[in-house]
Symmetry: C2
Subunit: 215 residues, 2 copies
DNA sequence: GAGTGGCAGTGACTCGTATTACAGAAGAAG
DNA sequence: CTTCTTCTGTAATACGAGTCACTGCCACTC
């Protein structure tokens, strides 16, 4: 483990007790993920709790026919709540976690994270807080799918993207369509409309966001 | 508190440690909900953790225009995961919990349930398990909304209903439509189709389910 | 500079679902 | 029995979004 990783970890998980952080450093595996690499996939057994210390992960759902949709992003300091649900998941559909940018993750063996729940109050709080946060985000996603038209969902998607990685959105229309489980043509049309309002500017392979709030 | 309530509680929460159950009995409020009554509503502060010892609750989402959709049901022995997320929720849209049948709920003051997390391992496990379970169910709901057509969602809905309250579904088409955030006419048509396959029989104000699996 | 492949724009068409409008049927109330 | 209300069935229509077909555009390679 390099010192760089260590300091990123310490910085983003400052709320954890000192002895706990030492335990984590001592017993976990640090792993580097390249952009596009997969962190974990359900269906396979999950044997570790995953913490994110650097980079950006996206958590998304995929059905049997390969259609997918974005659940939420994980930023440094977050944990993958799913990896804490170590109960063997036997559902048909899949959750995937993929690195959007290069990322640095920390793998904690499940039996330890289980043990720490009782031993370290800050760990316990962290886990509970993670659940809550993810639950909330999932609900928001659910809302937007259930109640909103595609135009609003796109807006929601763009906003979220701006929040985690800035106003230059380096994605093709096709990629956006996939994450919203829609189709390129439709997204193109909606983006065009947004451009006409002046909220964004379209370019090949990236979108320049100006102001999404006023729309 | 009547003895009847007490014994229902003990029966459905047998996995909790004895001393914990005594604390619960000593410090909580038991409350009876009539069919249709509301257990809690977000937006208002949540000051208690809610356990269900008798009856059936439905947890659903409602947007600003009054459209709603069902998230999941809670059965005796379950807890309302949301009521454990005591962090003041400031989101715009609402979650509601309503009694489908007459129900018996137990209100535990938040500060106690917080305290018990550290003190009673069985409580801690219970809380974590609740989160997991609700998360899973929410994901299933999400899946069905995102990937499935209304026909499959209806099927999913009926199956879930059968599981929690038997093969006599005492609901009008309108009620079903609302919970799926669709419209009555559409549901009527789809139900008619199902009847033609022999899976169900339609009656005024209730549906007799025969076999939903073979469809 | 010609060829090639991925990306973006656009129109026509289809499909599922929502909406509107109405009519008949079953109960409830009088 | 009559009236009223609530529930259910059905047909016509409207609309959003997905699909198909095709065109033009940019960037990269040879």
């Amino acid at each position: 483990m390099e010192n760089l990783d260590k300091s990123a970890f310490l910085q983003h998980f400052a709320q954890l007790e000192q002895p706990l952080r030492e335990e984590i450093l001592a017993h976990s595996t640090f792993k580097h993920l390249k952009e596009g690499e997969e962190a974990l996939r359900t269906g396979q057994y999950i044997t570790s709790t995953v913490l994110l210390s650097e980079g950006l992960l996206k958590v998304y759902r995929e059905d049997d026919e390969g259609k997918e949709f974005l659940m939420y992003y994980l930023e440094p300091g977050n944990a993958c709540a799913l990896s804490m649900m170590c109960s063997a998941r036997d559902t048909q559909s899949q959750i995937r976690v993929k690195a959007v940018d290069d990322a640095e993750i920390i793998l904690i063996p499940s039996h330890l994270s289980e043990l720490w729940l009782a031993r370290y109050k800050s760990w316990h709080n962290f886990v509970i807080a993670s659940y809550r946060q993810r639950f909330e985000e999932l609900l928001q996603t659910l809302d937007s799918i259930a109640f909103k038209g595609l135009d609003e969902r796109l807006l929601f998607y763009l906003k979220r993207h701006v929040k985690v990685s800035g106003k230059q959105i380096r994605l093709s229309h096709q990629q956006i369509a996939t994450e919203l489980s829609s189709s390129r043509e439709v997204i193109s049309r909606l983006l065009k409309k947004l451009e006409q309002t002046g909220a964004i500017t379209l370019n090949r392979n990236y979108i320049q966001v100006h102001d999404l709030e006023k729309v």
